[in-house]
């Protein structure tokens, strides 16, 4: 463990650019009272803030997984440093126990033995067929294998108490800060929905802290075919889902906004052209288009192995290609929406006043139309996110999604598919992927609802 080399994947660049852009937009919002007021309304929405808390936790996992590096291999001094072929992320380092403690094959959650019988050589007793003991799961119990429930329950309780104490600390800090600003205001009545945030945080801490505590001793969600911990796979899937959800919108946004506004503002043949374009694009089955594009991309990647120094880079490029393709095929909806809204806006009197001053068309678009469309863009962004995470799962399931070496919710489900037919069924991989994705998408949807309510001009 002497040194490491930072690896910057293309998707990492985009992720951190997105974070920077998000912060920048935040600063802009803080300067614009109407937008700030709308976001304040989001902040006052309890459901919205609860789901935002959950989303933030997912985003934190995704960001930790977006800092990549390669470890230096032990070499002789004086020779140039050699780095491991495996690209790791900060998340991998933090979850090292989960990553490294691989079993031989399937094992159920909280199991101490494998899920399949094997022939075991017992010294002096010949061979027996039995479920072999796991290398890591429940190892600390030794011979007391039947005490799993008691041990796990007690550990979870200890962790839960600890989580509660930690939460009390957070609660105290928040309450103190609020008290300082507004001495007589109860937290419940504050403009920002602190109560919802704190309660969600409590629920999350009570679930997550015991989970990870136990994960050190057991495979809480079991292991998959090659013995990898399912919990670790879920953590890795989060980043894939987020990138698909965010980078794709980044690809489609400029196209949708530009074409939508241009079509609506200039009308005439420009409008006709853009309308034909998205009508044609819309009438090609999306999966077909995506499948064709992904397969072509795969051929390109496979025939140029020299482009990639590691497998991670190759998988990363394929992920980005997928985002790009999804973006190309999914801009039509937002474009149509923005065209319609622009058609409405261009007839408004302040646009005509600007035209009467001879303000140029592009300046009118930038100053008068775009800012008044931003609420639609924001609503569309947040609502598309969950749809894209689901789309990735479907595409990976069909086999045209991300690289097979990359973990994603879709590949997890795809891998678990065959094992459902087994007797007894291997259900945990699917169940875990399903629940994690469900929580992520539900949180995103609820947050989108809150954003839509706050930005809806009819409600404001």
């Amino acid at each position: 463990m002497s040194g490491f080399q930072v690896v910057v994947l293309w998707s990492d660049v985009l992720v951190w650019l997105l974070v920077a852009a998000g912060l920048g937009v935040g600063v802009l919002i803080a300067k614009s009272p109407p937008l700030l007021a709308a976001w304040r309304r989001v902040g006052a929405n309890r459901v919205g803030m609860a789901s935002a808390t959950v989303l933030l936790a997912f985003i934190a996992v995704g960001l930790l997984d977006s800092l990549h590096y390669r470890l230096q291999l032990d070499g002789k001094p004086g020779q140039p440093a050699v780095y491991a072929i495996e690209v790791l992320s900060v998340l991998d380092a933090l979850a090292a126990p989960l990553r490294t403690r691989n079993e031989k094959t399937y094992s159920a959650p909280f199991a101490t033995r494998l899920y399949a019988k094997e022939t075991i050589d017992l010294p002096g007793q010949g061979t027996v067929r039995d479920y072999p003991r796991l290398k890591y799961g429940g190892q600390h119990l030794g011979e007391r294998e039947d005490e799993v429930a008691a041990d796990a329950g007690f550990t979870a309780f200890k962790a839960g108490v600890l989580a509660f104490v930690g939460w009390l600390g957070v609660f105290g800090v928040v309450a103190a800060v609020n008290r300082k600003k507004r001495p007589n205001l109860k937290l419940r009545d504050a403009a920002f929905a602190w109560d919802a945030v704190l309660l969600t945080l409590l629920a999350m801490l009570l679930a997550v802290v015991p989970l990870f505590w136990l994960a050190g001793q057991y495979h809480v969600f079991g292991t998959d075919k090659v013995g990898q911990d399912v919990l670790y796979q879920i953590l890795k899937s989060v980043r894939t889902g987020l990138i698909i959800g965010l980078v794709t919108t980044l690809v489609m946004l400029p196209m949708a906004v530009l074409l939508g506004i241009v079509a609506g503002y200039f009308r005439g043949w420009v409008d006709d052209l853009i309308q034909y374009l998205y009508t044609v694009l819309n009438s090609i089955p999306g999966v077909l288009l995506i499948a064709a594009a992904v397969l072509m991309m795969q051929v390109v990647i496979d025939s140029h192995p020299q482009w990639f120094s590691t497998a991670a880079e190759r998988a990363d490029l394929r992920l980005l290609a997928l985002c790009f393709i999804l973006g190309i095929t999914s801009w039509t909806g937002l474009c149509r929406l923005l065209r319609g809204e622009t058609l409405k806006l261009r007839e408004l009197e302040y646009i005509q006043a600007a035209q009467a001053f001879g303000v140029s068309s592009w300046r009118i678009i930038l100053r008068h139309i775009l800012p008044n469309l931003m609420h639609i863009v924001i609503i569309a962004l947040v609502m598309d996110f969950s749809g894209l995470v689901l789309a990735e799962a479907v595409l990976s399931y069909v086999g045209i999604g991300v690289d097979p070496t990359m973990t994603s919710f879709g590949t997890m489900i795809n891998n678990a598919r065959m094992e459902l037919g087994r007797e007894p069924a291997v259900w945990w991989s699917l169940a875990a992927a399903f629940s994690a994705m469900f929580v992520l998408v539900l949180a995103a949807n609820l947050f989108a609802d809150a954003v839509r309510d706050a930005f809806d001009p009819r409600a404001a």
Binding site: Y350, A353, A354, A356, G358, H368, N372
Partner: protein, 662 residues
């Protein structure tokens, strides 16, 4: 009152804002007898509509009943269950709304919508219902009712929709009709028809009517008793006679004095300073105290009690005096002999035709002749009023002058330079000389820009004063000129009221120092008191800057007050033009005469008989042959059906297009 049909006692209702209920209507009481029209009068935001919705129990989601009693025919309505209440709504009491275009369901036929009420409240279905529907439509004056029953709302004109709405309201044979601004969205000639209809029906059926309006003219024509609302309270209740002869509350008096009128030409209109207090910040004492010319110390401390000044005339005011000494005499200055000077804007035979396209290949099958040969001339420091009903093309004229809409033919000469056909930079520099003020102050300012940026936009686009220091000074000077504080430049439009927004729009237009300001109904979205402020401002600016106005409007009171010259437009053509006094005192065209007589006048003594125009303005896509006005003209002759009349010059300035004059 024991014989009252409806009695409202101490009604209080409010709207939820967060966890607080802000009272929008605060303890109002009145009663309506059968056959009586009670008018609730007040400016926007005074709680008039909320009162009506409260009586019908149709408050929006945020609305809350805070107390009071609404008793109709011995039955307390506020305590009824929702199911029982439905039998009252539409059955015993019915409502007509302001906007006929949105109060009918566009996907149901007229028959279905009337039939719904008949079935629910009268139990009529099938042939009996159809028979009743035909009767109802005939009652509200719709020709060919059998055919109309099967038509959809989009096939009807605005006035016809309002008639259908009235038929629906009458279908349940209500004892009480609530009419919420029933004619505000209609043209004057149609408004006159609808008001006549309402008055006739009310007399025939002995209905009680609650009329909600902001228009003193409508009140004068319709109401028996009047309640004046201010900031959620009734401040004066009087009979029609007492209301128009001796209004007692300072607010009522101020409303009358803020009205523009021919007798006030050349004078400043009285305005009510400030604006209606916000719901969240109601003053403790009298709510009008901050804007009242007669304010006393006691007004700020306690809310005044009701005081009976005469039988049936009660007022809520500490001030005991009568009308403020109105020493102003009518201004009889005649302006006929003032030389208007040379015209600097000359419009000749301006035409704007919009093609109607049909079919797969979008072939042009006809033209909407929105503007069809309009000639105008405006001189510096003069105001030309372009008057007409909606759809006559007056706004299109304004936009075509600015080249916002490309004219199809004709010429617009500004100081000798032809504007039609100009492009790019030369058009831009020409635009410096004219600017536009729009109708809706809420749609004409970009909500995402600060006021300073809005005003600076024109200067930047036309390349005036690009230096930032002088920029800021110029903006401050403009704001001062239109009567807004300096610090307004850093704020956003939504922080201002309608009248203040209109001032900002005027400042924006003035920023490029235009010689002509095209004002497209700049006061029609504003309350009377605010309208007076804007009209005063426009007059002041004209005196200071010598700017000319093309004032596009349908409001004759404003024309009488402001205009030097008047042009009356009908269906894309100017039918009469001349000096304001010529047109207003001796109109020659039957259309002008009808328009003038249809305007509801806020006085008891209406001088002339009202000329009723049948029907509504035809479509400009398919104008009638001959004189466009002949189908509606009471004096149409044979020649009118054959040829469009030429210009007749009655005086050097007064010309009319009518066969009668020729």
């Amino acid at each position: 009152m024991s014989d009252a049909l409806l009695s409202v006692t101490d009604l209080r209702l409010g709207f939820m804002a967060g966890k607080r209920a802000l009272p929008a209507v605060d303890g109002i009481s009145f009663a309506i007898s059968p056959g009586e029209t009670f008018a609730l009068l007040g400016e926007s935001g005074c709680g008039k509509s909320a009162t009506a919705q409260g009586i019908m129990r149709l408050l929006p989601a945020a609305g809350r009943m805070l107390g009071g009693r609404v008793v109709m025919d011995g039955q307390e309505l506020l305590g009824l269950s929702e199911a029982d209440m439905r039998a009252w709504r539409g059955g015993r009491m019915a409502m007509i709304f302001q906007e006929p275009a949105t109060s009918l369901n566009p996907v149901l036929t007229v028959g279905r919508q009337i039939g719904e009420v008949l079935e629910r409240h009268r139990g009529l279905t099938g042939a009996a219902a159809t028979e009743r529907m035909v009767e109802l439509l005939r009652l509200v004056g719709i020709a060919d009712p059998e055919r109309r029953l099967t038509e959809y709302p989009f096939q009807l004109s605005g006035g016809m929709k309002q008639r259908v709405m009235i038929a629906i309201a009458l279908a349940g044979e209500p004892e009480l009709l609530i009419a919420d601004e029933p004619t505000t969205a209609l043209d004057v000639t149609v408004q006159a028809q609808i008001l006549d209809l309402l008055a006739k029906i009310q007399v025939d059926r002995g209905m009680g009517m609650l009329l909600i309006t902001h228009d003193l003219g409508v009140v004068a024509r319709m109401a028996h008793r009047i309640g004046v609302m201010y900031a959620g309270e009734l401040v004066e209740v009087a009979s029609r006679q007492a209301f128009f002869t001796a209004p007692r509350h300072p607010y009522t008096q101020a409303l009358f004095e803020a009205l523009p009128d021919i007798s006030r030409r050349g004078l400043r209109l009285n305005t009510i300073p400030g604006q209606v207090p916000a719901l969240a910040a109601m003053p403790a004492g009298c709510r009008f105290a901050d804007r009242c010319p007669q304010v006393m110390a006691i007004c700020r401390e306690q809310s005044p009690p009701w005081r009976e000044v005469a039988g049936g005339h009660a007022v809520r005011c500490h001030w005991q005096g009568e009308a403020a000494a109105n020493g102003r005499t009518g201004n009889a200055v005649t302006e006929l002999d003032i030389d208007p000077g040379r015209a600097f804007l000359e419009v000749a035979d301006l035409k704007v035709h919009f093609p109607i396209r049909k079919g797969l290949l979008q072939r042009t099958v006809g033209h909407v002749r929105a503007v069809d040969g309009v000639s105008l001339a405006i001189a510096a420091s003069r105001t030309l009023a372009l008057v007409g009903e909606s759809g006559c093309g007056k706004t299109t004229v304004g936009k075509a002058l600015l080249q916002l809409i490309q004219p199809s033919a004709g010429s617009v000469r500004l100081g000798g330079n032809e504007l039609v056909g100009l492009k790019g930079r030369r058009l831009r520099s020409a635009r410096r000389h004219m600017q536009m003020v729009f109708q809706d102050p809420f749609a004409s300012l970009n909500p995402r820009l600060r006021v300073g940026e809005i005003i600076a936009e024109g200067m930047a686009a036309l390349g005036i004063d690009t230096e930032s220091a002088s920029h800021a000074a110029a903006i401050a000077a403009l704001l001062k000129q239109v009567g807004l504080p300096d610090e307004a430049a850093g704020r956003y439009p939504h922080e201002f009221s309608g009248g203040q927004r209109q001032r900002i729009a005027i400042a924006r237009a003035l920023a490029v120092q235009p010689e002509l300001l095209i004002c497209d109904e700049p006061t029609s979205a504003l309350d009377v008191s605010v309208q007076a402020q804007i009209l005063n401002l426009l007059k002041k600016l004209q005196a200071e800057l010598g700017v000319a106005y093309l004032f596009i409007t349908h409001n004759f009171a404003v024309v009488e007050y402001l205009a030097h010259d008047v042009a009356v437009m009908y269906l894309g053509r100017i039918v009469e033009r001349g000096r304001a006094e010529e047109i207003l005192r001796s109109p020659k065209h039957p259309y002008t005469q009808a328009l003038l007589s249809a305007v509801p006048v806020p006085r008891l003594d209406h001088p002339t008989a009202i000329i009723r125009l049948p029907g509504e303005t035809p479509s400009p896509a398919n104008p009638p042959a001959g004189c466009h006005f002949h189908p509606r003209c009471p004096m149409a002759m044979d020649i009118c059906r054959q040829a469009y009349p030429g210009v007749t010059e009655l005086s050097p300035t007064h010309r009319v297009n009518c066969h009668l004059a020729g």
